[in-house]
Amino acid sequence: MIMPSRAYTADTDLKLAVVTDTDIVTTRQEGRRFASALSFSSSDLTVIAAAISEIARNLVSYAGRGEVWIRQAERDGRRGIEIEARDHGPGIRDVSLALQDGYSTSGSLGLGLPGARRLMDEFEIQSEVGKGTVVVMRMWTR
């Protein structure tokens, strides 16, 4: 197989388990590394890392544990990064309420979801009480 002249290291998905607070750091560092192969500006890389940190922290404090997938996205000729966070925790009864600033039931400030949504270009969330939550967010290169 002939390799093209530039190595595309962002071809494979990353899957990370998030259980402890050190996993939050690992996940956002892996996310930053993954995104840096996609020609994001350094400012965007920091924003992406911050969003991942918030989402991962949300997994740990609200659901106890979860998984984060990091993959490359493509749409209309643009490349981007897609991050999916999945847990089988209690689920969120009122998603729109959870997306408001300052809302929290776990005692922390609850910035995770609304914060990440403000940072990223796209943000989708699905949750079912008793089943868990899925968050998908994307940022596109300029």
């Binding site: 002939i2 093209p4 002249s5 000729g77 300029r142």
Partner: protein
């Protein structure tokens, strides 16, 4: 001659490997023929013969490789790689499509020639070749266009950045004159420029003049508020000048929190205010009487 059953319903991988082997065996003369056709069609005129030969070799080999594997990722990677190499050479979209189609034709003719004795077999071979070749052409063209759009976007960003210089006027004082429409994208860029300017110039005050911004709505105003807050985190004050009282009133009515912004009428006033802030700092650090004499600040 090898005999194999071909019909459009059957997998064509055997046929494909057969024809790929044929294309590889005749690599040199097929490449020659392709280059001859490129010249005849007056394509790639911005490149020298040596350059064309070098690219043609790599493109030909990749083309045959992709024919063989059919891998989509490899295809897209190949298209991006090719585009990145030739866009700086001034090659445009019709040319790229043109040379890929010429290669398709050259290879197809070669297959006609080889299998012309058996019409059914030729059909089978073309059944395998055509979809693969067409997919390559499409992917290369689309990849090229996308790459060009990306380059243009980057150039636009660079132009936008050049059009808003961060000026160091005095020690620790920067001026950022903003002229023209500010959308979210430009606001983000301005904030980045301002913050990086603060750090590299070790500025303590930035006068951001928005007299030349035609429209300041709530979204833009909020971007400016964010800029002020971010600069504060780097230890710098931002003085916003050129925000007319009328616009300020409108924004406050909408609910924008302007108390976080230090606003002064015009640029001159803003610079004076900035000097006052800086002078106060310098004087206060000395162990002298706690009064302030602005005239001593130069």
């Amino acid at each position: 001659m090898r005999h194999f059953t071909v019909s459009s319903a059957e997998p064509t991988s055997d046929v494909l490997s057969e024809l790929v082997a044929h294309l590889r065996r005749n690599r040199a003369q097929l490449r020659e023929e392709w280059m001859r056709r490129i010249s005849a069609s007056r394509l790639l005129t911005s490149m020298t013969q040596e350059e064309i030969f070098a690219e043609a070799t790599s493109v030909f080999d990749n083309y045959v490789e992709v024919l063989e594997t059919g891998s989509v990722e490899a295809l897209q990677a190949y298209a991006r790689d090719l585009s990145e190499r030739i866009i700086p050479r001034g090659v445009d979209t019709p040319e790229v499509l043109g040379i890929v189609l010429l290669l398709r034709d050259v290879l197809a003719r070669s297959l006609f020639e080889k299998y012309q004795g058996d019409f059914a077999l030729l059909n089978g071979v073309l059944d395998a070749y055509e979809p693969a070749a067409n997919r390559i052409a499409t992917t290369v063209a689309v990849g090229f266009v996308q790459e060009r759009e990306r380059v243009i976007r980057q150039q636009q960003e660079a132009i936008r950045e050049l059009s808003t210089p961060v000026l160091q006027v005095r020690e620790r004082l920067l001026i950022l004159p903003i002229i023209g429409v500010v959308d979210s994208e430009r606001a983000r860029q301005l904030t980045e420029q301002l913050l990086h300017g603060v750090r590299s110039n070790r500025a303590k005050v930035v006068v951001m003049d928005i007299t030349g911004v035609p429209a300041v709505d709530a979204i833009v105003a909020n971007h400016f508020v964010q800029t002020v807050e971010a600069a504060r985190l780097l230890g710098a004050t931002v003085i916003v000048t050129g925000l007319s009282p009328e616009i300020a009133q409108t924004l406050v009515t909408i609910g924008v929190d302007l108390t976080k912004m230090n606003t002064v009428g015009d640029l001159q006033g803003g610079i004076e205010e900035a000097e006052r802030v800086l002078g106060y700092t310098v004087l206060n650090r000395r162990n002298g009487p706690p009064h302030m004499d602005p005239a001593q600040v130069s």
